[in-house]
């Protein structure tokens, strides 16, 4: 077990080192949330609704976390293909799923950083007062939500290992999931039949818990039930991911395409 934790840790640290060593990374990760925030706040200003501000600001932050945490792990596997490292890590005695978990946690941390960047932008550049009514409740909800995002990424990671073109599918899926999870607008605005999908996604519950902690100093039972749904969904995503990694292990060796890109 200790050995597996070490693998998760080195994957976490190495990914942070790799990512932050690129000057382009800083540009990408400061510019993208700024644009998200700008678009969302423009909607907010023309809507004339006070509550929409919460969706706009936190939605922009969550959007940044979403894009980073959800498919960062998948993209890192794609990067492995390009660098020719996927075969080398596959023939080590460590499980590739442990490496992916370490990377997912690193992306979760980067995602959290983006959320705080958006909060600072909203407060100091757009002049929107962002009093967080319950900072402790906000922090817990935010951390659990970003971990949950990363765990959805883990569900897709085995596909990235198996299928070399999976990045194209993932890019399309990212938008679909983003649209139905009630991140920048309430899911009540969506057609009823879409709600089933929204409720299966942990960001729906996580975003709701974040907004509750921002609005109310005393956390209502809804906040805790939302977090419980986040935890249950996260555990389910991890179990699915573990199962898929097991299922695909033999298939990866049958196909033998790890070295191709």
């Amino acid at each position: 077990m200790l050995r597996r934790i070490r693998v998760i840790w080195i994957a976490f640290v190495s990914l942070l080192k790799e990512t932050t060593s690129e000057p382009a990374w800083f540009v990408h990760n400061t510019a993208a949330p700024l644009i998200f925030t700008l678009v969302a706040l423009t909607f907010f200003k023309v809507s004339g609704k006070t509550e929409f501000g919460l969706y706009a600001v936190f939605g922009s932050g969550v959007a940044g976390m979403w894009a980073t945490a959800l498919f960062g792990t998948g993209n890192s596997i794609d990067d492995d293909r390009w660098q020719g490292t996927l075969e080398y890590i596959y023939v080590t005695p460590s499980r590739i799923s442990d490496i992916i978990v370490g990377r997912a946690l690193a992306y979760a941390l980067i995602g959290l950083g983006l959320m705080f960047e958006v909060l600072l932008l909203a407060a100091y550049i757009f002049g929107i007062p962002l009093g967080i009514a319950n900072p402790a409740g906000f922090t817990v909800a935010l951390v659990l939500t970003v971990i949950s995002f990363a765990s959805i990424g883990l569900v897709f990671a085995p596909l990235f290992v198996l299928i070399k073109e999976s990045n194209a599918y993932a890019n399309a899926l990212e938008g679909v999931l983003f649209a139905v999870a009630g991140i920048v607008y309430p899911i009540t605005m969506l057609p009823t039949w879409v709600h089933v999908i929204s409720y299966a996604l942990s960001p729906t519950w996580g975003s709701e818990a974040i907004r509750t902690s921002v609005r109310l100093p005393w956390l209502p039972p809804d906040y805790f039930s939302n977090l419980l749904y986040v935890l249950i969904a996260t555990a389910a995503y991890m179990a699915i991911s573990w199962y898929l990694f097991k299922l695909f292990e033999r298939r990866v060796r049958e196909k033998g395409e790890l070295g191709e890109f």
Partner: protein
Amino acid sequence: MKAIETFDLTREFVSEKGYLFKKKERLLAVDHVDFEVEKGELFGFVGPNGAGKTTTVKMLCTLLLPTSGTARVLGRDIVERPDEIRARINVVFGGERGLYWRLSGRDNLLYFATLYGIDPAHTKDRIDHLLAMVGLLDRADEKFGKYSRGMKQRLHIAKALLNDPEVVFMDEPTQGLDPEIAHELRGVIADLAKSGKTVFLTTHYMFEADELCRRVAVINHGRIVALDSPANLKRHVAGQRVIEVEFFGSTEKLVEGIRQIPGVGLVTTEDVEQRRILKIQTADPASVVPKLTAKMGDSRMMDLRIREPTLEDAYLKLVGAT
């Protein structure tokens, strides 16, 4: 117990072509291959491009499943017990890729040391020792992407030794390297074998196999066509001499003409920058040379020499190169 044993090892690749009407294409990359490698042996696996060398290595290092047959590495079945094999082997694929370009040399080794489960108490010493061994200790904190091609390949060797493997698979490790660096690397490979490790070396440089390997298997179209010591393989061209002609000009008609000369065996050509080199195997060079010079026509001959055959000449005869 042998280091490596294969039993009818076979791998077929199936690919689909077309959009609406998909057509399956099958390629038999490795075709019922049987061989054994002793512990501590430096074993050569040679063949032309596409002969099945890399596919064989990938199966033996548990990256790829055979379609039929199997193999054992250190007594463990590659299909059933890959995890036990992975801890005791390591692999170097040729080329510059395979390590993280944005991480330093040291960080790359630290990452792989952890994946190989090296005891953290010994990791730093092990990494420093290996970096010193491949001459990269003073450049260890530079990014891998900034390394020269030779430095990258040396770091690959260091990575391959992190877990002190019993068997090291090296797939064309010197391909594309400068002659001086390739020579240096061959020294490192020879030292590995001297230290008791089993080295499975694929190459298409025959002089490299001749210099390093105790035994060499020649693979062509997925099948092993010969397996013996370099000295015994050279006997395939016993009694032959090789005429080498360096010239400028076109080759196609010339080669056809030379093949008609009585006593001429295998004829091959090689391009070296703008020059061409003809290699003609024959048992009777004295009678072939005058007829050969008469056939040269407009081609400008720069040099002609007669030499003893090498392992490369034996290999060319075995794989039927033209």
